[in-house]
Structure formats: C-alpha cells, structure tokens
C-alpha cells in the first residue's frame, strides 16, 4: 500500500504517461512471438494423449472429469485456536484441503520465547511450537479424511513428525494421512530465507523424510519442489521451471546416494508453482514442465513406471502479480490466473485474496478467492475436457519453445557445477536479485504494464480497501503463556531422553531421523529444542551475501 498523504512525482508521471494501445510482442520470459503461428511452424510429432508419456497434455486420461483439482487456501494466523476456527469456516465453505501457514519462529526453528522470535509470534501464520499446539490446531478435524498442506521447509521434518504424532494421538493410522510438506530447502537458500542448517545436512534430512514417508505415510507427499518463491522473487516463468526441475534432479541424486529406489520414491515427488498473468506462457510452462520432467527421468535415470514419471503440481494464483494500487482489480487477475492453472492441468490450486498484497485476508476477501475457483470449476466449463488448448498451433509452438528454454536454464546450472554449489556460492541468489532489479526497472519505466499502478491511474484514486484485517494484539502473549504451561507440565526426563537419542542419531550420517523426531514430539519437546539439538551437531548455514 502506498502512502497517499501527498501526491508523488512519479504518480503524476504515470498519469501523464501515454497509455499503451497495443499488446507487447514478447512473453515476459523474453520469447518473441510471431503475429500468427501456422501449422508448418509446429514440430511434427505423433499425436499425444493425456495420461500417457510424456504427459504434455496431462497426467490423467480424463483430466478433471475423474477428480476436480483440490481447492486449497493458504491460511493460518495468531494462535492455534483462531486458526482452527478459520479452518472450520473454510471447510464449511466447500474447501477440500487445508493449507497451514506457520509463523516465522516455527519456520526458522525458534521457540516463541526466544529473543529473536518475540516480535514475530503468530504474525504471518500460526505458532506451532509443540505437539500441544498441533492438538488444538486440528481439534475436531478428521485427519484421515482431509489432506493437509504445510508451507514449511527448514523445520519440515519436525512439523511432519508432529503431524504423525498428532495422528497417533487421535488414533488415525499413519497410512491414511494425506497432504504435503513443502520441504524444499534448496529454494529457501535462494529465495525464501527460512534455512537453518548447512546445505548438506539439510539434504540428508529431506531424504530422511521422503524415505520414511514412502514406508509409513504412503499417501503423503514428503516434498513439494517449489518454483513459486524464486518466481515471486523476480525470475521468469522459464527460470522458475528450470530452477525447480534442477532442484528436483538434485533431490533425486541425494536419494539415490542414500540407497533409495528412484522407481519408487519418484512417485512421491510433487511440485509447486506460481501462476502469474501471462496466460499462454503460464499454460505452456506447465505443459513443457510435465513433458521435460518425464523425459529427464526416463533418459537420465531409466525410470519406467508411468506413475513415477507423472509431474504432479499445485499452484498459487497471485503473489507478486497482485498489487496494492486499485486492489479490487486483483480479483480479475486471480480469475485469469485460475483459468491458466486449470488449462495447465494443476492438481491443487490456491487463489490468493485481492488484499493479499499487503495484509492477511479478511473472511470476506478469503471467501471471494474460494468462490473464484468454484465459478471457474462449475460455471466456466473449462474443466469439461482435458487439455482444451492442446493442438492449438500457438500453444504447441510455445510449449516447445518453453521446453527448449527451460532446458537451457538446467544446462547453465549444471555447467556451473550443480545446484548445491550454485547455492553455497550465492551465485543463484545473485542472479535472481539482478533479475528482480530488471523487473522493477521495467515496471518503473512503464514498459511492463501494471494497470492502476504505472498506467491507467487516476490522480485521486483510492488504493485502500474497505476492510482491514486486525491481528489480535494479545495473541502473542497467549501463545507464550501456553508455551510456558507446556514446558512446566511435561515430563522433562522424557524430553531429555528423546533429545539425546536425536542428537546421537544426527551424528551418524545414515540413520533416518524421522522416528527420533516423532519420539521427541510425543514427549512434547519443542521445535526450538529439536532444532538446537540438530544445530549442535551440524552448525548453521552461513549466508553468502553477494550483490
């Protein structure tokens, strides 16, 4: 949101700016598009079918007719009690999956009483410091009948352990659990910043969760390899897909190193992206990504099981494509992005609320976001037949071009020495910062049109929304109060014993840490205590600061 107390020089500049009258000729990734695509410009290939290798047209033969995508809104704030209430509201509105937003102390591995955590408790998500809070968060919600997605990375293994523990306590068999932990640490180093440990032990922890999940929670996705955050940080659709597939390959290599069978665990890998505004580029990004992933697994790893080759992904419609200027326009943006996600064949969709550019959504804005998906699903008719854009000369041409460009990004990272090296050196981080800077300059100059912000403004436009979300200022105090009560009432000998066992296991490179973490959760050890124990063995990531 901008400060409207005085008109700014650049507002006046934007208002005077000549309004654009023609569309741009290149996609935001820089692919120059011909005015018309003719059949001879499209590569000659055998007709492709959805549900068949290489899955360009989708992973299911019947698209959404067999099963509609999961409508999954990201939500969570304040205390577990407040979030639990919001979840029940969303489930009553027809939402079919939960998506848990966690606060930064939980994401970075600090207890709510830690000095660095104090001002952030319950701010951007719910505080989940021990099993006691998880029991409140999921109270009255059937974990066997709902899928739950956690946007959690640095402490993903711990939150996953906590979810298993809360299911144990509720008497829900682990094999019935469905859902996802994001658990993609590589992109945290590059863009989102909730890293804790150095790269190599973090990769080990991720392999632990995937291998454990395959045995114990076979319907649960232990990783969601995410391009969303590098995209929102500034890179293009092509780079988003390229960096994400490169990260996916790095996880596969780590799992193979740990003795995993790629044919089996590849079935449990899933992906996560942003959908921004360039409609056809977004649709073709997903078509190209599906095809390329299947090809890479076949050609590089010899994977044969079609289920293991299927590129399954969820998306967010919104993010940095939404702006605070004339905020109600964001409803339209999200509607268009939602359609691109459906045409691209997403398995789960989160539509951001129009006010999400600057606040936690209100109940009103959150409802419009859900309704958007329901309108797209049940009124627009676009979900009726699978891959409805397949066979369009332009869509097939752009899919091929995107595939080529994405492969170039993967090649460039491999030429540098691989993802781990690129992250440890800060090379990828620097590239993304430069790209973000370019994107900002293009918006400032008016070259990239953002309606209501840099073009088509009114001098007296109101960039506010009618309803502001207010966090309860006492939420943090209540979280801390509950935390202290748990710490005072638990069996401290059991906590110490479980943490010592975790420490010993962490010292060995080939021990799967998941059972130890679940034991810690059952003993009501806190997230901060588990993280401190692992840090004592592994140290912390040292951020390479390069500009």
């Amino acid at each position: 949101m901008t400060d409207n107390s005085a008109p700014r020089k650049d507002d006046a500049e934007a208002a005077r700016r000549e309004p654009p009258t023609k569309p741009s000729t290149a996609t935001p990734s820089g692919i120059e598009v011909p005015p018309v695509v003719t059949p001879d410009m499209v590569a000659d290939r055998e007709p492709e079918m959805p549900g068949e290798y290489p899955f360009t047209r989708g992973i299911f033969p019947d698209g959404f007719r067999g099963r509609l995508w999961t409508i999954r809104q990201y939500s969570g704030f304040g205390t577990a009690e407040e979030s639990n209430e919001r979840y029940r509201f969303l489930l009553d509105q027809g939402q079919t999956g939960l998506s848990v937003a966690l606060d930064l102390p939980t994401q970075c591995g600090y207890d709510p009483v830690d000095p660095i955590a104090k001002s952030e408790v319950g701010k951007v998500g719910v505080s989940l410091s021990s099993l006691a809070e998880a029991e409140i968060l999921f109270d009255g919600i059937d974990l066997g009948g709902i899928s739950t997605s956690f946007t959690i990375n640095g402490t993903a293994s711990i939150i996953y352990a906590m979810y298993c523990a809360v299911a144990d306590k509720k008497g829900v068999p682990r094999e019935k659990l469905t859902g996802t932990i994001q658990n993609d640490i590589l992109k945290e180093y590059v863009a989102r910043g909730t890293w804790i440990f150095p790269v190599r032990p973090s990769m080990r922890l991720i392999a632990d969760t995937i291998l454990f999940s395959y045995d114990q929670t076979p319907r649960f996705n232990a990783i969601s390899i995410a391009g969303a955050h590098v995209r929102d940080a500034g890179c293009t659709a092509v780079e988003e897909m390229g960096y994400t597939l490169a990260n996916g390959l790095a996880y596969i290599d780590e799992l193979i190193r740990r003795g995993g069978d790629v044919e089996k665990f590849a079935r449990r890998l899933s992906f996560f992206f942003y959908v921004h505004m360039d409609f056809f580029e977004e649709v073709c990004k997903f078509r190209a990504g599906r095809r390329l992933w299947a090809k890479l697994l076949t050609e590089r790893y010899g994977v044969k099981d079609p289920k293991a080759l299927m590129f399954r992904f969820g998306v967010v419609c919104g993010g940095s494509s939404l702006v605070g200027a004339q905020p109600y326009n964001n409803v339209v943006r999200v509607g268009i992005e939602n359609m691109a996600a459906v045409m691209g064949g997403a398995q789960s969709i989160f539509t951001a609320a129009f006010d999400e550019a600057y606040q936690i959504p209100t109940e009103h804005s959150a409802e419009i976001a859900v309704r958007t998906q329901q309108i797209v699903a049940h009124e627009s008719g676009i979900a009726r037949t699978v891959d409805p854009l397949g066979g369009s000369h332009y869509v097939e041409w752009l899919t091929d071009r995107m595939e080529d460009e994405v492969m170039k990004v993967i090649d460039e990272i491999e030429a540098y020495g691989g993802v781990t090296k690129a992250v440890e050196d800060g090379w990828l981080q620097m590239k993304i910062a430069q790209r973000a800077s370019e994107r900002k300059h293009k918006i400032d100059s008016g070259e990239t049109v953002v309606v209501g912000q840099n073009h088509f403004r009114r001098d007296d436009q109101n960039d506010g929304v009618a309803e502001l979300f207010k966090l309860d200022p006492q939420a943090s105090a209540r979280v801390i109060g509950k935390f202290e009560k748990v710490r005072d009432s638990r069996d401290n000998d059991a906590v110490t014993a479980s943490l010592s066992a975790l420490e010993a296991a962490a010292a060995k490179d080939d021990e799967n840490l998941m059972p130890y973490l679940i034991d810690c959760c059952h003993a009501y050890a806190t997230v901060g205590e588990m993280v401190a124990t692992l840090k004592s063995q592994w140290g912390e990531f040292e951020e390479p600061v390069r500009l």
């Binding site: 650049d10 500034g234 973000a436 966090l471 500009l547």
Partner: protein
C-alpha cells in the same frame, strides 16, 4: 541526484526472509553512487545498530515484510540511541500499511517506502534527507 560519498546500511531485522526488495534497493543505491553494505538475513536490531556505528554509515534502511515493523523500528532506534548514534537516519521499507506510517515516523523513521514506489522516488527521498 546523487548519493556519492554516502554510506548506507541495508538491513533485514527479525526472521523475515523476503530479501528481494532489500537487494533491489541496495543495487539501486549503489548505482546512485552510495557505498552500500547489506547485512543479509535474520539480524537483531542490536547487531544492526553496532554494524551501523562500526561502519560509520549515514543511513540505515530496514526491510520488513512480516508485519513486525513497529516493534523492530522502535527497537532499532533504541539500540542506535544507546550507542549515541541517534544522528544516523533511519528508513524503513516493505509491506507497511498506510495507517502505520505516522506511528513509525513518530518512532523515528525518516522515510517509509513500499513496493509500488519507483526506485527514483526512493533515491530522491534519501538524497533529500541526507543532504539536508
């Protein structure tokens, strides 16, 4: 418009990991002639104040997108004052609702920058403050 010879610390206080804005501004200020130091993520106000003093900067820019701007600005001002460095100009950028701007100014922020402002505006505002 130039920031030649000015020393500016761009800092990420608290746990927020969104550093795109901080990096865009750091690059832009460097392009405008300033000597820019960037702290990297997850720094305490106390650490930021000490670096500001050690590096003898003219200004500190805090980047905050987690909603904790009030607490973190107040705490940074307190730490700077404790080190007798109240003359270092403090700016804040990020996701800062308009209704909080007055309170942040009262707490000591000399400028508040949000994502929709142009880089030129930000540089001009710093230039005006630092040459005053």
């Amino acid at each position: 418009m130039s920031l030649n010879g000015k020393r500016i610390l761009i800092a990420k206080p608290g746990l927020d990991g969104h550093d795109v804005g901080a990096k865009i501004i750091a690059l832009a200020l460097r392009d405008a002639g300033a000597d820019v130091i960037y702290t990297g993520l997850r720094r305490t106000p106390d650490y930021i104040a000490r670096v500001a003093v050690d590096e003898d900067v003219d200004a500190v820019g805090l980047s905050i997108l987690s909603g904790s701007h009030k607490e973190l600005v107040e705490e940074t001002v307190r730490c700077l004052n404790e080190l007798d460095a109240g003359d270092i100009r403090l700016f804040v950028g990020g996701t800062i609702p308009a209704e909080d701007h007055d309170e942040l100014r009262d707490a000591g922020a000399r400028g508040i920058f949000t994502a929709e402002m142009t880089i030129n505006d930000v540089v001009a505002a710093l230039d005006a403050e630092l040459s005053a």
